[in-house]
């Protein structure tokens, strides 16, 4: 019964929160409408039969969030320096990274992390050989980037999703 | 006194953002390839959204924040459609 009406409770609560933020009020009517919207949209989402996400370790999720925030700050400064440096020959290129992570949600999170960090971008993913292709703006040493991605992000994502 | 400085700094920020938008437009006109133009259009959306936020701060109106939200969402839809078109357009040719 509960599964039927609340197939995705987290999604429903998030939609309610977004609704309350947009309306900027806590009036009973707003909360009621937001709750109805949250439940209805979550049920519609369930009709798409999405694969279930299972996050095991919420402590690691927090660690990952802090780490990604710090990295975004640092690489913003690094990329800004590269752009403003005059006439520096830039060595950028593609890097192929063999992955151990196979969970689809984990890969989606990794894609968002790599792309939102300035200086690196997710290019493509080979699902049969499990090889990820990224493009790096300032490529000095391929091995350094492979180690960075694997050690800083992939290990945490393996702990969270697999 | 310090508020004149604040006002001046916001105007300076707006000038910077206008310059940023003009750079994006230059890249959009110059290309050289279709993907460069789409990328520049996306950057233009984001700069316009940030500029709207500064206008909101200067005119004490939260309405601009909502306008920024809409620009962000429409810009996303537009860029995704164009990127999809770039992939498909070549197939049909």
């Amino acid at each position: 019964m509960i599964r039927r009406w609340f197939p995705h409770p987290v999604l429903s609560v998030l939609l309610l929160l977004i609704w309350l933020l947009l309306k900027q009020s806590l009036a009973p009517g707003t909360i009621l409408l937001g709750a109805l919207l949250g439940i209805a949209l979550a049920r519609m989402y369930d009709l798409l039969r999405p694969p279930k996400a299972r996050a095991h370790d919420f402590h690691l999720l927090g660690v990952l969030f802090v780490r990604v925030t710090i990295d975004i700050f640092r690489s913003n400064l690094a990329v800004a320096r590269i752009i403003l440096a005059r006439n520096r020959s830039l060595n950028s290129g593609f890097v192929a990274i063999p992955l151990d992570l196979t969970d689809r949600h984990g890969l989606a999170v990794l894609a968002c992390i790599i792309t939102s960090t300035p200086g690196t971008i997710w290019v493509s993913y080979d699902s049969s050989a499990n090889i990820l292709l990224i493009h790096v703006l300032d490529l000095a040493d391929e091995q350094v980037w492979i180690d960075t991605i694997k050690r800083r992000y992939e290990r945490l994502l393996l702990g969270i999703f697999q | 006194m310090s508020h004149d400085v604040l006002e001046a700094i916001i105007i300076l920020a707006q000038l910077l953002l206008l310059l940023a938008m003009s750079f994006s437009i230059t890249r959009m006109l110059r290309g050289p390839r279709a993907q460069d133009r789409v990328l520049a259009l996306d950057a233009l959306y984001v700069n316009a959204m940030i500029l709207l936020l500064t206008i909101g701060i200067r005119s004490d109106s939260l309405l601009y924040v909502e306008a920024g939200l809409i620009i962000g969402l429409l810009g996303f839809a537009g860029t995704v459609a164009l990127a999809k078109f770039l992939m498909r357009g070549q197939v049909i040719e």
Partner: protein, 117 residues
């Protein structure tokens, strides 16, 4: 008389710093868009505006409106939430489209197609 005069000095300084930093990062991102040499380099530049540029500008806006209205106003973070969710998707799609087009043309600068892609 201006509504900004109602800001206490500490808030005025904070707002000024945030607004200037936000505009600066967006500006540098667009400079990169103009100056970098090829598409795969240029695609990195606008991320500056969508991450720290937007972050600082939202921080300035939240500080300004919360202090002026005397209550926390933070629904601007919705812009940040939507932008963090959508930017990776647009950039990834764009890079994939560019890669596809370059491979169609037989360009030697991009890696060859992997079997399981």
């Amino acid at each position: 008389m201006n509504h900004l005069d109602a800001l206490p000095p500490w808030a005025a300084i904070l707002v000024a710093v945030f607004v200037l930093l936000g505009a600066l990062f967006a500006f540098i991102g667009s400079v990169g868009l103009l100056r970098l040499e090829n598409f795969y380099q240029r695609v990195h530049a606008p991320t500056l505006g969508t991450t720290l540029g937007t972050f600082f500008m939202l921080a300035g806006s939240i500080t300004c409106f919360s202090v002026l209205h005397g209550r926390p106003i933070f629904y601007e973070i919705l812009i940040g939430v939507f932008l963090t969710l959508t930017t990776p998707i647009t950039l990834m799609l764009l890079v994939r489209a560019a890669l596809y087009r370059d491979r169609e043309e037989g360009s030697q600068d991009v890696p060859r197609k992997l079997p399981g892609e």
